[in-house]
């Protein structure tokens, strides 16, 4: 399995078209946001780890950040073509293969653009390569380097002499480190980057030719299916293998501790064997009632973090002319990928190859090695795109399932989960409860604000060493990463706002440094992490969405109490210029009507309309977004229909405007589905939202709102993430619009018709 990069380069021609994208190589500071990256056998400080130029001028680039459908394959290809001054068709991008690509940890958290498009990693590698080629050409052509120009893979001197990249370096290594001084091309020079290049996978996708991980076929491949526990926390009493002896094609029943699976020659045989296999389970401990879950999470032992504390909040609240308090609740929601998770593993005596849709090829390599007792070097993980994941869906756990079953039968095994197994056992988004308190002065300004957040979670990304963070790991005997109850230490160092636990209106002062986006100086934010019975993990805009829902709705409550216009009231409390600009841009594009909410003389029957706004500085400084929602509410049924959603985003210099628009539109609608109808449900024993009838998501036939996207192309600042900005503000904006239309404040997602109707009835 130990494929050398050179061997790979020699044989990679046929492979390249099937590869898609994966995680990110994060060279110098060994940290990518909250996810650590580890050094690996491919040195990210070396240019040859990133870029290779063939004799025919073809550029092969290696990245550890992959494409799940968000367009990273295309924009990274654009980036390399731009910096190297070659046509986009000359660039082959290899994403996330532990045999050849650098370890960039996990592709997540809107970190691919900040990591690879600024002054490090892939962008810097391509710029370094261009400068190295110019220096080589200077020697060859005998002309000063500053009189040379590079274009279309050819370097030309002032007197017309020229030489191709292929002739300069073809198939040889650069043997040079990444040069942090290599000059990036400026956006004013861009001819490929910054343009709406059609996504490179588009034709293959639309014509059914694109290879997903679900389409990987390995010679001799068998099919596996898992048999998950009968209820949460159930353990195996016994497995009656005789119950499936008659199933044709059955190869093996695989049992390891509480992990149970079947392997058969054909997929249909594996499904039948999984259905028929008699497993007796010891009951689990039972589940807490869903109805009162928001109370029970606040009574558990918690791991606390104090993000900031100005120490004067109680005093300021005591002196305030008005004090408001409210509690917001956000449910567990799921990734609910449209295709169930799938992986193929080939485990032999020499090692293992895993074709996986994981966001984390290197961490998966480590965890697979740990699960199978193999050496790290003998495991190769190759990213192949899966169904859109939006975070930690079942891709990692399915990869472990395939590895375990292939290990048991010593043949390649493909595993695809059933719809029910996917939805009952995936790592849901965290359940959150957020308690808010704020005080205002007689002039209508907020003087103090306190947030207490409870986050209910279990497990998460397996990372490099925690297979127990997902279901398969727990079943074979690993524990999830424990939550260690403990009181919070005093905040020190820099403000940690990557989860948007702070409202944008706080000054965000730790010590004498204030990194918040607003003016409120009397401030306190504490978070409590508690245990939930369900696996959780990052789901698009993890915690940022939950927190922003609570902050932006509460901001609206304060504005309403003071009879202030929601936009003007926000602007009054914001000092971050970029956030101010997106709020203004969204309001202007939506032709915002300046007045307090709710509207006067509310009708009590029929269909009523309203508008609401919400904004966010994503992760504090990783993109800026504001959204104006216009909704109609049917007073009789409680049904909420968004009619127009106007969103403004600023994510720095835009790599691909149409790609960004696509991400933003999708984020807005996914946010709408999550705001209106998505919620994981359970009974006393098990998850009950296990298919598309029990977990709601709106179909293509939904009566769609108009979506207007305003893109602010901000030059001269670092490029930020963009995939999660828009979704973060949708629930709050819709909640605020419902209040504007009806005078009813909804403090719990989803805003289902039943919930809205009940709230309307309690009002009258």
């Amino acid at each position: 399995m130990n494929v050398s990069r050179r061997d790979f380069l020699k044989s990679s021609g046929a492979l390249i078209v099937t590869f898609n994208a994966t995680s990110l190589a994060n060279g110098f500071p060994n940290a990518q946001g909250q996810f650590d990256t580890h050094p690996s056998h491919i040195d990210p400080t070396q240019l040859d780890s990133w870029i290779s130029v063939a004799a025919d001028g073809t550029v092969t680039a290696y990245t550890g950040k992959c494409d799940f459908g968000q367009g990273m394959f295309t924009v990274q290809t654009q980036l390399v073509a731009e910096e190297l001054c070659v046509p986009i068709g000359s660039v082959r991008l290899i994403q996330c293969d532990t045999a050849v690509a650098p370890d960039q940890g996990t592709t997540s958290g809107s970190q691919s653009t900040p990591t690879n498009f600024n002054s490090r990693n892939l962008a810097q590698a391509a710029a370094t390569a261009r400068e190295a080629l110019l220096n080589m050409a200077s020697v060859k052509l005998g002309e000063p380097v500053d009189e040379l120009t590079a274009s279309d893979g050819v370097i030309t001197g002032k007197r017309g002499s020229h030489i191709t990249y292929g002739a300069l370096i073809g198939n040889e290594r650069f043997h040079a480190p990444l040069n942090s001084q290599a000059k990036r091309r400026s956006p004013s020079q861009w001819t490929v980057l910054g343009k709406s290049i059609p996504s490179l996978d588009r034709v293959a996708l639309m014509t059914g030719q694109f290879e997903f991980v679900h389409n990987v076929h390995v010679p001799g491949m068998l099919h596996g299916r898992v048999v998950r526990p009968s209820e949460v926390g159930a353990t195996v009493a016994n497995v009656d293998e005789s119950s499936v002896r008659q199933v044709p094609g059955l190869v093996k029943v695989v049992v390891r501790n509480n992990f149970v699976g079947v392997v058969a020659e054909k997929q249909w045989q594996a499904i039948q064997a999984a259905r028929r296999l008699k497993v007796n389970w010891h009951s689990g401990p039972g589940l807490p009632p869903q109805k009162t879950f928001h109370d029970s999470v606040r009574q558990q032992p918690s791991h606390d973090a104090l993000l900031l504390d100005s120490k004067d909040v109680e005093q300021q609240l005591a002196n305030a002319s008005t004090v408001l308090r409210a509690t917001y609740v956000y449910p567990h929601q799921m990734h609910g990928s449209v295709g169930t998770s799938c992986a193929v593993a080939d485990v032999t005596a020499d090692g293992a190859t895993v074709w996986s849709a994981t966001q984390s090829v290197y961490p998966t390599r480590s965890t697979v090695a740990k699960l199978l007792g193999l050496s790290l070097d003998s495991v190769r993980v190759i990213y192949v795109r899966g169904s859109g994941c939006y975070g930690l869906n079942g891709a990692d756990t399915a990869s472990f399932d395939a590895a375990l079953m292939s290990h048991a039968v010593s043949r390649p095994v493909r595993v695809q989960l059933s719809r029910q197994d996917e939805m009952a056992w995936e790592n849901f988004g965290s359940f959150c409860v957020i308690e808010q308190r704020a005080g205002t002065d007689p002039n209508g300004a907020i003087t103090a604000w306190e947030c207490k957040q409870w986050e209910a979670s279990r497990g998460g990304r397996p990372g490099y060493s925690q297979p127990g963070n997902v279901i398969t790991g727990v079943l074979v005997g690993y524990a999830p990463e424990p939550i260690k109850p403990g009181a919070a230490a005093e905040p020190t160092g820099t403000l940690r706002n990557q989860n948007n636990a702070l409202p944008s209106y706080m000054a965000g002062c730790v010590g004498d440094r204030c990194a918040g986006a607003g003016y409120v100086r009397s401030e306190r934010v504490i978070t409590h992490t508690v245990q939930t019975p369900f696996f959780t993990g990052p789901l698009r805009s993890p915690l940022r969405l939950q927190n922003t829902f609570a902050h932006e709705c509460f901001m609206d409550e304060i504005a309403a109490r003071l009879k202030a216009d929601p936009v003007a009231f926000r602007l009054q409390h914001l000092r971050n210029e970029r956030l101010i600009d997106v709020v203004k841009a969204a309001a202007e594009a939506a032709r915002w009507e300046t007045r307090p909410s709710p509207r006067e003389k509310l009708p009590r029957t029929g269909s009523v309309t309203g508008r609401g706004i919400a904004c966010v500085a994503y992760e504090g400084d990783n993109g800026y977004g504001a959204l104006v929602a216009e909704v109609s509410v049917d007073m009789a049924s409680g049904r909420v229909q968004p009619t127009r959603l106007t969103v403004a985003v600023d994510c720095g210099p835009i790599s691909n405007p149409d790609g960004l628009r696509n991400q933003t539109e999708g984020g807005v609608l996914q946010g709408t589905s999550r705001a209106l109808m998505e919620e994981v449900t359970w009974n006393e024993k098990r998850v009950t939202s296990i298919d598309w009838e029990t977990y709601n998501s709106f179909y293509l036939g939904f009566d769609l709102p108009a979506v207007d996207v305003v893109l602010i192309d901000k030059i001269g600042v670092p490029a930020t993430g963009a995939g999660e900005t828009a979704i973060t503000v949708v629930a709050a904006a819709i909640g605020n619009a419902i209040f504007d239309a009806t005078g009813v404040r909804l403090r719990e997602v989803p805003f289902s018709a039943d919930r809205v109707k009940a709230a309307l009835q309690s009002l009258s």
Binding site: M206, G208, G339, Y699, L700
Partner: protein, 155 residues
Amino acid sequence: MSKVSLKVNGSLHILDVDLTTPLLFILSDELQLRGPKFGCGMAQCGACTVILRGQIVRSCVMPVSAVGTDEVTTLEGLGSPEKPHAIQQAFIDEGAAQCGFCLSGVILTAKVVLDEKPDASDQQIREALGGVLCRCFAHLRMLRAIRKYAERRKA
């Protein structure tokens, strides 16, 4: 196991299979086609959609024995990368996808409804797509592409 002959995208295949096998697994595993995909196994999402006798079929719940002698058309049978079908071209033009896993359901369902009713209203198109799921929520572009195809088709 029984012998079955299956006509798919213009080719005839003689296969030795369990006749209760859902058509989807024959297409994706035996014939290694990439268009139809397993999404739910319960006809709830549309990812496995194919066209049979001019109708939309959810191949995850149709046993291969029920196909008969009529031809099955999958997403890759509609057009090729070199020569995409007009509806595929409209989706290409509009960039109407993100991950693209759901496209068999979206494109083939829209094609069939417009084949049946070239003047279908937006409302009728939406109704036809009432059981097709896209979790990336590329809905706006998809409906734009479908409308574009409908207009080109009439012209």
